[in-house]
């Protein structure tokens, strides 16, 4: 696991957290109408919030080459 840099760990860790908030049984904690936020039921707000977090993380992942070195930074690689 040495190849997991702090940046890569943060990106993938954030994604796992986002998916857990949306798709694990934790979603049932948000399965309620109140408190309504901006006139929207809480379950909808919860889903929109985590959707936004994950979409933003995908953008960060793209901008950082998903935590991998860009090709210009690659070390010389020998084949096995």
């Amino acid at each position: 696991m040495k190849h997991l840099s702090p940046l890569k760990l943060s990106i993938y860790g954030g994604m796992i957290l986002g998916f857990l908030m949306l798709e694990s049984p934790a979603i049932m904690l948000a399965n309620r109408i109140e408190p309504m936020l901006m006139g929207l039921p809480f379950l909808l707000v919860w889903n929109l919030f985590w959707w936004f977090v994950l979409t933003a993380l995908f953008l960060v992942a793209y901008l950082t080459n998903w935590g991998s070195p860009t090709p210009s930074n690659n070390h010389a690689i020998k084949q096995p």
């Binding site: 840099s5 929207l40 909808l44 959707w51 090709p71 690659n74 070390h75 084949q79 096995p80």
Partner: protein
């Protein structure tokens, strides 16, 4: 009425013209007809993947589900994100291997890695059998919309026939290039239509805030799981998330859209773009819930959106939005017809009937297959009734089973062909028995989830017990995976960390 007929005519004719124009760049080779010479650019890739992935299931099925079953379809936000993530993580590897070994179909990759004819045939059969019902729901959804938009002047059977006639012409002429070009139009219309329909219809009850406030008073069970019917709780929430994303991603039409990409870097961006596009589902939330207040007694929930549009929107606007809905269906149907014809041509005709077939002959057989599968889907749409989402999920549960051997092929050198075959048969049998047979899916989870679990257990367990003897094939893929990492994830290689060349005894994964 004349205006809406003109819109329907434009909806039919403009894509036809675009398809015909795109065909001027076509070459008479199978690689060009099926994967555009592996040179599809970023705009076309995004729109054709998004428009293929978003179907009548999304446009009509989402409204119908909010209308009848409450919030369970909100899980669509997450399944779009999962689909995007898979397109990056799995799709990029599939693309790399496809480019290196010249693959065109799912069977090419899976059959080649596992070095098994039985597996190759099984994969081709799964893609064909489970894609046709999903194709049927596109036709049904699109024809519903055209029938309603024309005020019944164009009956369902004729709408469906027109629908397929147009697709066959431009796919026949231009192959995947024509589809990608037309999907740019369809995709733009689809996202506009979903968003605007939701906003417009919700204004009929006072806007989004008033909508939710009224719904909380009159039908609060629509706003939380398990919904008004009491059967759409967490198990179905999770099942829809996993089965829809994985099943659609493993459809042959998406495989072709992995193989077609020109540059690997595009895969890095697609999760963001596909995730962002998911916001359009807010439109479905608004229109589906508005239907609960405005039209509470619609018999066929798949028709709730067109019925509300005809009732509450100006006629021309309603027709335009319905054309957008038909775009969702058409952009998926054209890709599916093209994909199944690719499977028939390359996995059956070229491999087992005529190995020496010329390029022109292969393209011709591909075109004939277009007509055959279109006809099968047309007949099914006229004769097999069903709710769009129900049929769609059953079909997706079948293709979803392909994810297990695919992940094995791209990541795991110990993955064994017998294990992959047993897993696939077990998974598909589980789906069929729990969907159509005597067994019922336990604990409320969809049959596809149980199929995936059985598939995984068989695949991993047997792969650990059995050992592959075809070392040449295994090493060829090991080398390819190494080259992939060297190009895109050099930090994964020991040489990167140690800055020393690996020894001869180093066993890469």
């Amino acid at each position: 009425m004349t205006g809406s007929l003109l819109i329907i005519a434009a909806f039919m004719i403009i894509p036809l013209m675009v398809g015909v124009l795109s065909a001027r760049q076509s070459q008479e080779t199978s690689e060009d007809f099926f994967v555009q010479g592996r040179a599809m650019g970023s705009t076309a890739v995004f729109f054709t993947v998004a428009a293929t992935w978003w179907s009548a299931f999304a446009f009509l099925g989402s409204n119908a589900t909010f209308y009848t079953n409450g919030p369970v379809f909100l899980t669509a936000l997450a399944w779009n994100l999962l689909f995007g993530f898979m397109y990056y993580w799995i799709g990029k590897r599939v693309w790399f291997l496809g480019k290196r070994f010249n693959y065109l179909t799912p069977s090419d990759l899976i059959g080649d890695f596992y070095n098994s004819e039985a597996l190759r045939i099984t994969v081709a059969a799964i893609t064909l059998i489970f894609t046709v019902p999903y194709l049927q729901i596109q036709l049904t959804g699109g024809a519903y919309l055209i029938e309603v938009a024309s005020g019944g002047l164009i009956p369902f059977w004729l709408a469906a026939l027109l629908f397929y006639f147009i697709i066959i012409i431009y796919v026949w002429i231009g192959g995947i290039r024509a589809i990608a070009w037309t999907d740019v139009i369809y995709g733009a219309l689809l996202f506009f239509g979903m968003m605007y329909a939701g906003y417009y219809i919700s204004t009929q009850v006072g806007g989004p805030t008033a909508l939710f406030s009224q719904l909380q008073q009159s039908s609060p069970e629509h706003l939380t799981m398990p919904g008004p019917n009491g059967n759409m709780g967490y198990p179905m929430w999770f099942s829809l998330f996993a089965i829809t994303a994985i099943g659609a991603f493993m459809g042959p039409q998406i495989w072709l859209r992995m193989y077609s990409v020109k540059h690997g870097k595009l895969f890095n961006l697609m999760p963001f773009l596909l995730g962002l596009a998911a916001f359009a589902y807010v439109g479905s939330v608004l229109s589906g819930y508005s239907g609960v207040l405005l039209e509470p007694n619609v018999e066929n929930p798949d028709q709730i959106l067109p019925i509300m549009l005809m009732e509450y929107a100006p006629y021309l606007l309603a027709s335009l939005i319905m054309a957008a809905g038909a775009s969702a269906a058409m952009s998926t149907a054209n890709s599916q017809i093209h994909a199944v014809s690719t499977v028939v041509t390359m996995d059956i005709y070229k491999r087992y009937v005529n190995r020496e077939a010329s390029q022109a002959r292969i393209v011709y057989i591909g075109r004939l297959s277009l007509v055959g599968f279109s006809l099968a889907a047309y007949i099914m749409a006229l004769t097999v009734p069903g709710v769009l989402v129900t049929i769609g999920i059953a079909a997706l549960a079948g293709t979803a089973q392909l994810i297990i051997p695919t992940i094995g092929a791209i990541t795991w050198k110990k993955a064994h062909p017998t294990a992959a075959l047993a897993g696939l048969w077990g998974g598909v049998a589980c789906v069929l028995l729990m969907t159509f047979g005597p067994l019922s899916a336990p604990f409320g989870y969809h049959a596809g989830i149980w199929g995936l679990m059985l598939n995984t257990v068989l695949f991993v367990g047997l792969s650990h017990v059995l050992h592959r003897r075809d070392t040449a094939v295994v090493e060829r893929f090991t080398q390819a995976r190494y080259d992939y990492d060297a190009e895109y994830h050099p930090e994964r290689l020991p040489a990167y960390a140690q800055e020393t060349p690996p020894t001869d005894s180093y066993n890469y994964r």
